[in-house]
Amino acid sequence: MSLGQQLAQFIAAGIVNGAIYALLGLGLVVIYSVTRAVNVAQGEFAALGALLAATLASAGWPVEAVLPVGTAASALLGLLAYLGGIRPVRTASPLVLIIVTLAMHLTLKGLLLLVWGTDPYTLPPFSQGAPLRILGAVLARQSLWILGTAGVALMILYGFFGYTLYGKALRACAINDLAARLMGIRPQAMGAIAWTLAGALGGLAGVLITPLTLATYDMGLMLGLKGFVGAVAAGLTSYPLAVLGCLLFGIVESLVAGLLPSGYRDAIAFGVLVVALLTRAVLALRQGVLVGEEVLSE
């Protein structure tokens, strides 16, 4: 393979991975902007969707059914996580919230282990057939499914947030929580919607990626944290920037992983995270710093 073809291959793979991370990153941004919680358990939503889909598929369910069911199950999990874990401590400090999501991560992982054990599971690709060659890169058909489905999901979200009152209400909660309450908007209802949505996005990502990589009970942490990298670059508040950040991260990860031995792949994510943090810090400093929020509340 020529260098150009190699590069194209890496970039293509990176975009595909980036699409998955973007779905997770979006879930993180929705949760953070509406409920102020940094959700360490986001990856577990993906893991549940993936494992459930794999089990159903091996029981003979067709792919067209497995995808929505996996997504719906994770959406339900998101809702339950909100009702059980976050709503009781809704008004607590962000520190407490992040500790609670940490606890949720550990508990959910344990539950997944209990039900599915340590074995890896797999899903057949959504459509059979030879890989396709596009712009010098060879893409498995599943990759196209990923890109397509993620693209559709993003468009639906765009429509939801931009054109429906529920979506605007979610944005309103993120913009000004006090004003939203003064309008009669119930923060619990909005929180529940946000977490359900994040669960669905996570589940979708999990089901999509399983045919390419295997599903295990502990796949969540890595996936979730990679979603974080892109979301952090977006300051955890901007949807379009989070998607962009995750796509870019996917590409960078793919390019760098092509050069380093495979054991280091996960470490790359975190090297990039540090860089993202550094950039955020520099931007914050230039704007006149951290005291901004406190000051403006005068």
Binding site: L165, K168, A169, R171, A172, I175, N176, L178, A179, A180, R181, L182, M183, G184, I185, R186, P187
Partner: protein, 262 residues
Amino acid sequence: MKPSWARRSPESARGAGGSLQVYDLQASYGPVQALRGATLECAPGELVAIIGPNGAGKTTLLRAILGLLPHRGDVLLDGRSLTALSTEDRVRAGLALVPERRQLFDTLSVRDNLLLSGFGRGLGRSRMEERLRLVFSLFPALAERPRAPARSLSGGQQQMLAIGRALMGEPRVLLMDEPLLGLAPLIVSELLGLLRRLCDEGLSVVLVEQNARAALAVADRAYVLERGRIVRSGSARDLQADPAVHSAYLGGPLKPEAPRGK
């Protein structure tokens, strides 16, 4: 010539006003007790003003009525106690607050800001459209640019939007926290005229204002709040004539200082 937005609107707030009663309301910010037992009421269709110095607890009073901070004492709307309800539910019951500094959704459009208020109060689509038309007729400046983001409006227009948002949900009692701050005098008088009209048509309004002169000029009754307590109450006219109120809020200076050396 009446200003454009003092025109009679096709639909009015006729008879929509509720009664508000507040008994011995107490609230603290951490260790600082800002409200030490305030009792007041507003009858349907009344415009009640609350005046007092800065730091007296006027804003705290409104926030406590809305349940934005924990409080002791009772808040009744049309005889029904709201004390156990959350802020959102008090709003759904019929209170509306135009908060200090407006608190608009600044990146959302004028129209969205208004619609979200209807959405929050659970109005159906057609009812929302009706209320939207009402608000636009009261504030034509908003009707001119419904899709503009709220932050691009001028100060006066933002205040109009804040009031419009509050009116969207057909409130029974409208509470306003210093709506006249930072507004040009012309807009102040227009706004006061609008409030008076809304009351005449039946809406109950509680107006907290720093600008005592303007508030007393337009109110039916008024209360004076000082350091967390109601210290005087009565009809607006009586308070305007009261020498103590007059000297404190309508332009009385401190004891003159000894001449300063420089």
